[in-house]
């Protein structure tokens, strides 16, 4: 986990340095929206999973 840690720190440093520039913040608005969509999809996938239905004894 050391390598990902330093990669993400480098990315974070770049973001803090240049995040206010329109050339960075504009694409970020799109990427953040997509990342949110990914979380929503994971939540919906879990909500529709058989694991949840069996846990709530709906399909037993």
């Amino acid at each position: 986990m050391t390598a990902p840690f330093f990669i993400i720190l480098a990315l974070g440093a770049l973001y803090t340095q240049y995040g206010h520039l329109p050339a960075v913040s504009a694409p970020f608005r799109g990427v953040s929206a997509a990342a949110a969509g990914l979380v929503v999809a994971m939540g919906l996938k879990m909500a529709a999973s058989r694991r949840l239905r069996s846990a709530m004894a709906l399909s037993r």
Binding site: P4, F5, T16, P27, V31, A33, A34, G37
Partner: protein, 175 residues
């Protein structure tokens, strides 16, 4: 705003660590509450940006805490936040998994696991809701979120392609 951000980071994130059963997504609501609402360390949009960065970067999503730590208190903040989120859950997982093995056939174990699943699902849905509100400030933003969710649910495309496409849409000034 706290006077001792490092101590706050250590305390808040080690608590988060203990409820991080399902990874970064399940602690998203609580993390957002602590970082944006309670301490005001950053805006919702910045929180959403850092989370997107952690999702796009290699490595586990929970590394978003390193980014938050970095934003709050530099390198020391990143180290403290990362250690705080990793250590307690590592110890807990180690301890619990040994006990869990021993009660493999027990009915109460199945009941506890069944009980945790809906909690995890609820936390994930809440996380999706919160991060969407934090990230999107326009109808086109919501459209990108909805489209991404739709594509992820119906295809096997790697999310990085979607991030790339969404980045281009943002760069074009449409979000």
């Amino acid at each position: 705003m706290s006077e001792e951000p490092l101590a706050q980071l250590a305390m808040d994130f080690s608590l988060l660590s203990l409820i991080a059963v399902g990874g970064a997504i399940t602690v998203l609501p609580e993390m957002h509450r602590s970082v944006v609402e309670m301490h005001g360390w950053m805006s919702g949009a910045q929180f959403a940006d850092l989370f997107a960065l952690a999702q796009a970067a290699p490595g586990p999503n929970i590394l978003v805490v390193s980014l938050i730590g970095w934003k709050v208190a530099g390198l020391a903040g990143a180290a403290v936040a990362t250690a705080a989120v990793c250590a307690p859950s590592c110890v807990l997982t180690f301890a619990v998994s040994r006990i869990w093995q021993r009660f493999r056939g027990a009915r109460w174990r199945a009941a506890v696991e069944d009980g945790l699943v809906p909690v995890t699902v609820g936390l994930m849905l809440a996380g999706g809701y919160l991060i969407t509100l934090a990230a999107d400030h326009s109808w086109s933003g919501f459209a990108v979120t909805a489209a991404t969710a739709g594509v992820v649910l119906t295809t096997r495309i790697h999310p990085l392609w979607l991030f790339g496409a969404a980045g281009l849409i943002g760069l074009a000034g449409w979000v």
